[in-house]
Amino acid sequence: DAGITQSPRHKVTETGTPVTLRCHQTENHRYMYWYRQDPGHGLRLIHYSYGVKDTDKGEVSDGYSVSRSKTEDFLLTLESATSSQTSVYFCAISELGGNNQPQHFGDGTRLSIL
């Protein structure tokens, strides 16, 4: 299994509070990704990183920010959580990115915004 740890595994919080999810990898892979998974939508890309301090937006980036200060850690922040951000969040990594490398996923964080 890819060495990916997501924390926390579960979180319940209230609307308007800030939330930070952490993804930690031990593979020294360059690329890291944050997805959300919702019924009827499949996995959708929020943000991704192609190196330390290098990040870019995915298709559902509104309301989310990310940071990557070290190769091994990729943080996803909801500045002011809303109920529409209730979801399961997955982190993924790939060694080189691009079309010749599959992405490998962490076990997910289940986030509920009340």
Binding site: G42, L43, Y48, G58, E59, F90, G98, N99, Q103, F105
Partner: protein, 109 residues
Amino acid sequence: EDKVVQSPLSLVVHEGDTVTLNCSYEVTNFRSLLWYKQEKKAPTFLFMLTSSGIEKKSGRLSSILDKKELFSILNITATQTGDSAIYLCASFGNEKLTFGTGTRLTIIP
């Protein structure tokens, strides 16, 4: 807009049956198609296909890609209860993966 469509949405079969899962895609600058298996937690990687007509196999699972007709199939022979899962198809293009919503496969003992 890039799109990946999987069918059927769900499938219930008896142990020992053979199943075929379908995936069609419309992706700009297509590079590869990937299959994942998702049980309770993380999607786990099964196959990546980049060329038409070349079958990939892993035990009882196999997959093939048709780049002309823009689809892929995943076959599972002699199904077992451990094959029960959601199977996700994803297509890589424009530097990102686009996922389908998955096929939920249930194997009855």
